[in-house]
């Protein structure tokens, strides 16, 4: 379902939204706005107190969401409503600790009940084999990340335990906007595509329509997080701001003059 949604989209952009910022009502409105703006799928980020793979923007988003009183039970209570209304795949991104706290299997089952199609866990290495089986048993895709530092042998091992799409980490570093993307990226994506049937989507560091255009030239999809959350945190109307920002990325850089 996730793979199909990405493949069927002419310009698959996957936005990331920190849940509960400033509250879950707003998150619901942001999800609808992102869907209307043409998102191929949406990542819902579970805020975490110690997000070690995140740069300043998503750290701040996590911190503010937790300060605003984010609770897992409240999120579980909303997921069903959201997935009933939004007909693109919802994917949850979370560090491993909040998912394991009350039992990984039960937490995955609750996500599945809420209509979540996939899960991304940035601090879960491929060596943690049991979790792949847990996801398979529940019927949820475990989307794995491949880094610029991952060697080919290890890449094959990761691809063998990956579902939904392959998350190609564009940069050596944490999440956040970069002025330019590394040169080896196209080769990295080509290698991944040659070794998997799954779509390959690129994330970390993407913020500009021109970068999205460039990436969609060789990748199946692009993930955008910090840039959108920066817009959301600055705006008085977060949903409108998120929709506006995503629409620019999905539509791409205009080829002829527009008014």
């Amino acid at each position: 379902m996730i793979a199909q949604a990405i493949r069927n989209h002419p310009r698959a952009v996957i936005p990331y939204v920190t849940a509960g910022l400033p509250d879950l009502d707003s998150t619901g409105r942001i999800l609808s706005a992102l869907k209307d703006a043409g998102a191929a799928a949406i990542e819902i980020g579970i805020p975490f107190s110690d997000p070690m793979a995140d740069g300043p923007v998503l750290q701040k988003a996590s911190h503010l969401a937790l300060q605003a009183g984010f609770r897992m039970d409240d999120l579980f209570g909303r997921l069903g409503q959201w997935s009933a209304k939004i007909d693109i795949p919802l994917i949850v991104m979370s560090y491993i600790n909040p998912l394991m706290r009350r039992g990984l299997h039960d937490t995955l089952a609750r996500l599945k009940d809420g209509g979540v199609k996939g899960v991304i866990i940035p601090d879960l290495p491929v060596e943690a084999k049991g979790i792949h089986a847990d996801c398979a048993a529940v019927g949820i895709d475990l989307i794995r990340l491949v880094a610029p530092t991952t060697v080919p042998e290890r890449t094959r091992e990761i691809l063998a335990q990956c579902g939904g799409f392959v998350y190609a980490v564009a940069v050596k570093g944490v999440t956040g906007q970069r002025a330019s993307l590394p040169e080896g990226l196209q080769g990295q994506v080509a290698f991944l595509k040659a070794n998997t049937e799954l779509p390959v989507c690129v994330g970390f560091g993407v913020s500009k329509a021109s970068q999205v255009d460039e990436l969609l030239g060789f990748a199946d999809g692009v993930i955008v997080g910090s840039y959108l959350m920066d817009e959301v945190m600055k705006a008085s109307d977060p949903a409108a701001a998120a929709g506006r920002a995503l629409r620019i990325l999905v539509n791409g850089v205009p080829r002829s003059g527009q008014g």
Partner: protein
């Protein structure tokens, strides 16, 4: 998964770092297998650090508590704490690996000073991440690091203490993994760090065991050490693990009590922080809780995974000492033995009050992990 201690430990880090951890693991295994590596380590221990450190018979403290108390004097190491043992070991490893840029996290500043020191000694670039709260309460160590040529990078995120400094150091490492060696200061983090740090700190236990037998004629009844991340404790415990009759006691920071403390084993539940699964102070959603200790080096919501294993398997037990009890220990040791302990180590001294009530007349080795000059302004309350 590599680096497991029972159900604890492992390597829960972003994929970008996994290859670096494998490289580090391989380099460590190779170095540890070479006699020449340990000869070089020992040479620095003797001629630079000033080892072996004495085992002092604390006679007046013994009379005060009604126990036979021996102090392992890590406070007499160069730079003032046990942290230098690990810093020397890891800088030798970093040099073998050809890394020229060193990063570290620090809480009390002792590990930061130790790292800045070895970087000066080896001519390497040094960046130390430190929470702004800790920078304020450990000013002297901040100035020492700067004098040693290190950059002290303030960390404002989260609670602005050791936990957040560690996260920020990991973020730096993810971004600069090709050039950078992360010199972690405690027996925490992903494999191979907990094992590596234990092996470099094991020198404390080897010396203490030999000294107590030579000086007193037999093994002690107990070994007591403070536990934040737990590197000084695992270092001294390691030599006594196979001596079943020696009780191993870690002392956690109970802070102000009432939920404001750093006692991960006593009050935590298993969870993942900074790449390792261990006892963790967290809420029911898995969010890491704020901690408090008067000792910056114990102000950490996690603990080394091997301590979690030792607690779960009951080979060691973990007691509690409040801020006030630690301060009492600090003052007592000054007055009775002429020694100013670090506030971290003062927790181990403070525990003697409880221990001597239970085990009157027993013989104990207390690891005096560091000296207290850095804490004078906290104790005096300037």
């Amino acid at each position: 998964m590599k680096g497991l201690f029972g159900d604890f430990g492992g390597q829960y880090v972003p994929e970008t770092l996994l290859p670096a951890l494998e490289e580090l693991d391989a380099a460590m295994e190779e170095a540890f297998a070479e006699k020449a590596f340990w000869d070089e380590f020992s040479s620095y221990m003797v001629h630079y650090v000033g080892r072996p450190t004495p085992l002092t018979h604390a006679k007046r403290l013994s009379a005060h508590y009604g126990c036979d108390v021996w102090l392992k004097r890590e406070d007499l190491n160069h730079t003032g704490s046990h942290k230098i043992n690990n810093a020397i070991g890891q800088i030798l490893l970093a040099s073998r690996m050809g890394k020229r840029r060193i990063i570290a996290e620090t809480g009390a500043g002792q590990h930061g000073v130790a790292t800045a020191t070895v970087c000066a000694l080896f001519g390497l670039e040094c960046h130390v991440y430190m929470g702004t709260v800790d920078i304020a309460r450990q000013r002297m160590n901040v100035e020492r690091m700067r004098l040693l040529g290190a950059e002290v990078v303030p960390v404002e995120g989260g609670t602005a203490t050791l936990k957040d400094a560690t996260s920020e150091a990991i973020r730096d490492w993810i971004a600069n993994v090709d050039t950078t060696y992360y010199l972690i200061g405690s027996a925490i983090g992903p494999h191979p760090y907990p094992t590596m740090v234990r092996e470099f700190q094991a020198v404390i236990g080897r010396e203490a065991k030999q000294q107590i037998v030579e000086l007193s004629g037999s093994l002690p009844d107990a070994v007591i050490a403070c536990v934040g991340g737990g590197s000084n404790a695992i270092g001294i415990f390691s030599a006594f693990l196979d001596e079943a009759q020696v009780e191993l006691i870690g002392v956690e920071a109970y802070g102000r009590g009432n939920g404001q403390h750093g006692a991960s084993i006593s009050f935590g539940t298993p969870g993942v922080l900074h790449g390792t699964r261990s006892y963790l102070l967290q809420d029911k959603d898995g969010q890491v809780l704020d901690t408090h200790s008067i000792a910056a080096g114990l102000d950490y919501p996690g603990v080394g995974p091997e301590h979690s294993f030792l607690a779960a398997s009951r080979r060691a037990r973990y007691g509690l000492v409040t801020d006030d009890q630690a301060l009492t220990g600090f003052r007592l040791l000054n007055r009775l033995e002429g020694i100013a302990p670090a506030l971290e180590s003062a927790h181990a001294i403070g525990y003697l009050e409880q221990y001597s009530r239970e085990k009157h007349g027993s013989k104990v080795v207390v690891n005096l992990s560091g000296r207290g000059d850095k804490d004078l302004h906290t104790v005096i309350g300037d």
